[in-house]
C-alpha cells in the first residue's frame, strides 16, 4: 500500500495548478493526479502547414471528436450546447482564447440586486487579492481603467489594435457604445520566461510560442520546483471514504492502466463543472448512496454554460484574419440588468478579429454563402480576410433541470461511467441572445458589413462549465461551504468552476483561479482545525 499524502489534488488544469502552487509553501506532501500528460509545444498545430485542418481532428475542442486516450466521452446529445474542454497538464487553459475578464462585484449579489438565483456566500472584495495574484502568475496584458469593468492592473500593455480593432472601435464610437481593450493572458512582452506574442493567430488550440498563458507553463513549473508531485496519465475512478465518512484516498488507473489506491488526508477536486460531478457521482457508496458530498442532491445540478450569441459579417476593408489573437476588445455596454430590455441580468461581448482561410471556407460553405462552382473563387476572395465578429457571452442563470448525471451506457476507456448532459436554454437567456444579436447586427451594419451570419447558440461553445457543485452556507442548498469545503465530507474540497453560484456574463477562468487561490489561502489559515 502506498504511503498517504497530505493533500491529493485531482486535475492539473486552471484551478488544480493554482491550488497546488499556493499550498506548496506549507511543505506538505502534495500529489496531483492528472489524466492527461505534459504538452509538447513543438507539436502544436501552428507549427505545421496543416494547422487549420488539425482543428477538425486531433485538435478539436470537443473531446468526443478528438477521442484522445486522455479524453473521456460526454453524452451531450440532449443539449444544444456541446461540451468542449482539454485534458492535459494545463487542462483547458491549453485550449482557450485567453480572454481574461473577471466577474463583476454585482455578480456576487444577483438575488439582492435583481431578485433571481442566489447571492454568493462571498463577495468580490474577498477575491480581490487573489485576482491580483493570479494575474501576476498567469501574466496578463490589458489597459487599466475601463470605466465599466472592475479595476485591474495588468502587468503588460494591451494587445495591438490591429486592423480589426480599428474598424470595431470606429463603429462602436459611432453608436456611442462602450468598448475597451480586453484583458488577456497573451504576453505582449517577454514575461517570466515566456516569449512575447508574435501573432501566430491560431491561439485557441495551444500557443507554440508560449505567449498564451496556460498553467503548464505558468503555475506548474513553480509548483513542481516547490515540491509538488505531479503524476500524469492517471485517471481517478472514485474517491473512497472511511468509517467516519472522511475521504480516505482515491482509486485511479495509472499510465499502464493498472488500478491503484492512493491514500490521502485531504482531497481537492479540480476537474471542472462536468468532471467534478461525474467523479462525485461515481464515488457513491453505502454511506453516500447518491454520490459523495451530495446530501443536498445538488451535485450535478444547476449546470451553467454561457450560451454564446454570435453574429458576424464581412467588411470591405481587410481584417486581421488569422494574423492576430482572435480576441482583443470587449464591451460591457449591456452587462448589467435593464428590465426595459425584457430580461434580467446581461452579457459581455468579445469581438472577433477574423478567421483563417480553411475555417472561412468551411464555415461559409456550411452557411450557404460560399457557392459551389464557377463563382466560388470570386465569393471566397470577398469573404476571406474580411470577417468581423460580435460574440455575446450571455449570463446563464442556475436551473436544477440543467444537469450532469451518469450515462447508463457510455463509459470511458477505463470502463468508468461517462457524464450525460441535459440542458435547455432558458426563456430569459433566449431574450438576452435575441437582444445581443440585434445589437450585433446594428454594430456590423454600422461597420459596413454584409453577408451577415448568426450562430446562436454557438453549438460547440460549451467552454464554461459552471455551477454543478455550488458553494453556499446552507448545506441543504449547496455542496461546499463558503471556503470550498464539502458540507458532508470535512476533508474534501472543490476548487473549480462547479462551485460557481451564478455565472456572470464573462469568461470564467480568471475567477475560477482566484477562487482556487482564495480557498487555498483559507485552508492555510485553518490548517490547525481544517476539519472542525
Amino acid at each position: 500500500m502506498k504511503d498517504p499524502v497530505d493533500v491529493l489534488i485531482i486535475g492539473a488544469g486552471a484551478s488544480g495548478a493554482a491550488v497546488a502552487w499556493s499550498l506548496a509553501e506549507t511543505k506538505m506532501h502534495i500529489l496531483c493526479l492528472e489524466q492527461g500528460g505534459w504538452m509538447n509545444p513543438a507539436e502544436y498545430p501552428s507549427t505545421g502547414r496543416d494547422w487549420e485542418a488539425k482543428f477538425y481532428g486531433e485538435w478539436s475542442s470537443s473531446p468526443n471528436v478528438r477521442g484522445r486516450p486522455e479524453d473521456y466521452p460526454i453524452n451531450d446529445d440532449n443539449s444544444p450546447i456541446k461540451v468542449v474542454n482539454y485534458n492535459a497538464v494545463g487542462g483547458s487553459t491549453v485550449m482557450y482564447t485567453a480572454h481574461w475578464p473577471r466577474l463583476h462585484p454585482s455578480d456576487f449579489k444577483v438575488k439582492t440586486l435583481d431578485g433571481v438565483a442566489d447571492d454568493w456566500p462571498i463577495d468580490y472584495d474577498a477575491l480581490t487579492p487573489f485576482f491580483e495574484e493570479n494575474d501576476r502568475m498567469m501574466g496578463t496584458s490589458g489597459l487599466s481603467g475601463d470605466p465599466l469593468s472592475p479595476l485591474t492592473h495588468p502587468p503588460m500593455p494591451q494587445q495591438p489594435m490591429g486592423l480589426s480593432g480599428a474598424i470595431i472601435g470606429k463603429a462602436m464610437n459611432k453608436l456611442g457604445w462602450h468598448w475597451w481593450p480586453s484583458d488577456t493572458t497573451v504576453a505582449t512582452m517577454d514575461y517570466e520566461g515566456r516569449a512575447r506574442c508574435i501573432n501566430l493567430g491560431h491561439c485557441t488550440p495551444a500557443c507554440a510560442q508560449g505567449a498564451k498563458s496556460s498553467t503548464d507553463i505558468t503555475y506548474w513549473p513553480h509548483a513542481v520546483r516547490a515540491g509538488v508531485e505531479l503524476r500524469t496519465h492517471c485517471r481517478v475512478r472514485e474517491i473512497t471514504t472511511d468509517e467516519n465518512g472522511m475521504a480516505s484516498g482515491v482509486v485511479y488507473y495509472d499510465k499502464d492502466g493498472v488500478e491503484q489506491f492512493q491514500p490521502a488526508h485531504v482531497v481537492i477536486i479540480a476537474c471542472n463543472g462536468v468532471g467534478t460531478p461525474r467523479l462525485l457521482l461515481n464515488s457513491a457508496s453505502g454511506r453516500f448512496p447518491n454520490g459523495l458530498a451530495n446530501s443536498s442532491g445538488l451535485v450535478g445540478k444547476n449546470l451553467m454554460f454561457h450560451p454564446y450569441a454570435q453574429i458576424y459579417g464581412y467588411v470591405k476593408e481587410p481584417t486581421d484574419s488569422n494574423r492576430a489573437p482572435p480576441t482583443c476588445l470587449w464591451s460591457k455596454e449591456w452587462y448589467d440588468t435593464d428590465l426595459s430590455r425584457g430580461f434580467v441580468r446581461g452579457y459581455g461581448v468579445q469581438f472577433v478579429r477574423g478567421a483563417g482561410p480553411v475555417f472561412e471556407a468551411v464555415v461559409s460553405e456550411q452557411k450557404g454563402i460560399l457557392p459551389w462552382g464557377e463563382d466560388h473563387h470570386r465569393v471566397f476572395r470577398k469573404l476571406n480576410g474580411h470577417r468581423l465578429g460580435f460574440s455575446a457571452i450571455c449570463e446563464d442563470l442556475p436551473e436544477e433541470h440543467n444537469q450532469v448525471t451518469l450515462d447508463p451506457v457510455l463509459k470511458d476507456s477505463h470502463g468508468i461511467p461517462a457524464p450525460k448532459i441535459d440542458y435547455t436554454i432558458s426563456e430569459n437567456s433566449r431574450k438576452m441572445m435575441e437582444h445581443a444579436l440585434a445589437r450585433g447586427r446594428e454594430f456590423l451594419e454600422t461597420a459596413g458589413a454584409t453577408d451577415i451570419c448568426v450562430n446562436s447558440p454557438i453549438p460547440w461553445g460549451g467552454w464554461h462549465l459552471l455551477g454543478t457543485a455550488r458553494m453556499g452556507t446552507d448545506p441543504e442548498r449547496s455542496v461546499v461551504n463558503e471556503w470550498g469545503r464539502s458540507h458532508d465530507v470535512k476533508n474534501l474540497f472543490i476548487v473549480d468552476g462547479s462551485i460557481f453560484v451564478t455565472s456572470g456574463g464573462v469568461n470564467p477562468t480568471s475567477t475560477i483561479q482566484a477562487l482556487a487561490l482564495y480557498i487555498a489561502n483559507q485552508m492555510k489559515q485553518r490548517l490547525a482545525n481544517l476539519f472542525d
Binding site: Y44, T47, G48, R49, D50, E52, A53, Y56, G57, H104, P105, S106, K109, L113, D123, Y124, G145, P147, L148, S149, P150, Q159, P160, M161, G162, L163, G165, A166, G169, K170, M172, G176, H178, W179, W180, P181, C197, I198, N199, L200, G201, H202, A208, Q209, D320, N322, R323, A324, Y335, P357, V358, A361, V362, E365, W372, G373, H376, H377, R381, N384
Partner: protein
C-alpha cells in the same frame, strides 16, 4: 456507415469529380480546381479518421446518381450535386470540409490569395498597434460600474 479504411477506385473517381464541381479551376485567378492531381493526392494521403464518413458520403452520392457519378453525363451531374449538398448530412459536410481544407493549403491557391506559404510558427505576423485615441470618446463618456451592496 461504411467501415472501410481506404477509398475504392470508384469512390476516388467520384471524389475527384465532386471536388471539381465544388471548386473548378479558374484561369482568372490562376488556380487549379479541387480535382487537381496534387490536391487529390493530399486529400487521400490525409483522410485518416475522415475516411469512413467520406466513403459513406460518396456511396450516398452514387445512390443519388443511380450509378457512379463518373458514369453520369456531365450535364446531369449538377442536379445530383445539389441534391447531395442538401441531403448528405454530416457525411457530406465532412467530404466538403476535407476538400476545402486541402484546397486552401495548396501552394498555388495560397499564392493566388496573396498568403505566405508557411506555417504560422515561428515567423508569426506583424500587427499595427493602431490609433488608441479612438478610445477617447469611451473615456469621456465614462459610465459607472454597478455597485454591489
Amino acid at each position: 456507415m461504411s467501415g472501410q479504411m481506404t477509398l475504392t477506385p470508384r469512390q476516388r473517381q467520384d471524389l475527384r469529380i465532386i471536388a471539381g464541381m465544388i471548386i473548378p479551376p479558374s484561369e482568372e485567378y490562376r488556380v487549379p480546381g479541387a480535382d487537381d492531381e496534387i490536391i487529390q493526392a493530399d486529400i487521400l494521403a490525409t483522410l485518416g479518421r475522415d475516411t469512413r464518413p467520406v466513403a459513406a458520403a460518396l456511396d450516398h452520392l452514387a445512390r443519388l446518381a443511380g450509378m457512379p457519378l463518373a458514369d453520369l453525363a456531365p450535364d446531369t451531374r449538377d442536379g445530383v450535386a445539389q441534391q447531395f449538398r442538401s441531403t448528405g448530412g454530416v457525411a457530406a459536410a465532412t467530404l466538403v470540409r476535407v476538400v476545402l481544407q486541402c484546397y486552401y493549403r495548396d501552394d498555388r491557391v495560397l499564392r493566388s490569395l496573396g498568403l505566405e506559404l508557411r506555417a504560422p510558427f515561428p515567423k508569426g505576423h506583424v500587427l499595427p498597434d493602431g490609433d488608441w485615441s479612438l478610445l477617447d470618446p469611451v473615456k469621456a463618456r465614462a459610465g459607472t460600474l454597478r455597485r454591489a451592496p
